[in-house]
Symmetry: C2
Subunit: 138 residues, 2 copies
DNA sequence: TCTTGATGCTCTAGTGACTAGAGGCCCTAC
DNA sequence: GTAGGGCCTCTAGTCACTAGAGCATCAAGA
């Protein structure tokens, strides 16, 4: 049996976050000891590990709820799990594409100040004027 | 003179968002007409354009507030504007790096289901088990 | 056994950057 | 004059937490 603090240390999820996950129904309510403190078993540990990993992979809590709801009964739901994973991959790729455009735009803006000399505050002008941008962004 | 709706159409910033920017002190309070409706001039349009572009580039409202505060008096502040832009660039590059790790991880997970056959729900197992990951992420 | 300090509990409120809705006033075109 | 769109303020909700108040409980040492 683990206390919430031990669970926190083991998984790297902060204590208030664990309570928050319980509150929104993502983590099942654990048993309590005589003093009303939460006591978790291995299943609680596993569930929280699953959530942590999926969060690190950028899944929303909504996605994770869906994935965990599926976990019990496999079969067809496998397709659903795969769909969620793939849609998340597409999402991540899209974000990368957009961020790359932003990076090149920011590089351009930063170079305006390279010398540190005279008309240097083109940085502010460039930020204010989208028409100077090379490509699309936003 | 523009109404808030005209400003919204011209800049692509939604009406409630414009009011929100005003509320938090990012946009100066515009004049009002006899019926208490906001009326903007070209300076309001420019300010909102600046904010919109900077937001599209991923700057926080806090950053933008700093950049706009600097706008009046150039000189030394140029260095500050450049610092903010460069730190934003570093930030974006870092996010790209992390997302690329996530993408490769998600690709690996998705491939577990390629056949659509038998032991397909390795997707859920993989999501739950960080030790299967190739590299670092999160 | 007593004490002390860490850990735990619940509850409320705050974060950033908006978004949605209620309930009402104003403006413009016909 | 009237219809319908736009505008006003205010409150509350979103996501995924985070911080703090004020109190209870637990474990280890004296």
């Amino acid at each position: 049996m683990f206390s919430i603090g031990q669970l926190s240390k083991a998984t790297g999820v902060k204590v208030p976050t664990i309570r928050y996950y319980e509150e929104i129904g993502l983590l099942p309510q654990p048993g309590r000891n005589a003093g009303n403190q939460r006591r978790y078993g291995q299943d609680g540990m596993d569930a929280l590990g699953f959530i942590k990993h999926a969060r690190d992979l950028g899944f929303s809590l909504e996605d994770i709820k869906a994935l965990m709801g599926l976990d019990g009964h496999l079969g067809d739901d496998c397709a659903e799990a795969d769909r969620i994973a793939r849609s998340q991959l597409a999402n991540v790729r899209d974000r990368i594409r957009k961020l790359e455009q932003l990076a090149s735009e920011l590089e351009r803006i930063s170079h305006l100040c390279d010398g540190g000399n005279g008309g240097c505050c083109k940085v502010l002008t460039a930020l204010g004027d989208h028409s100077q941008c090379a490509g699309e962004h936003g």
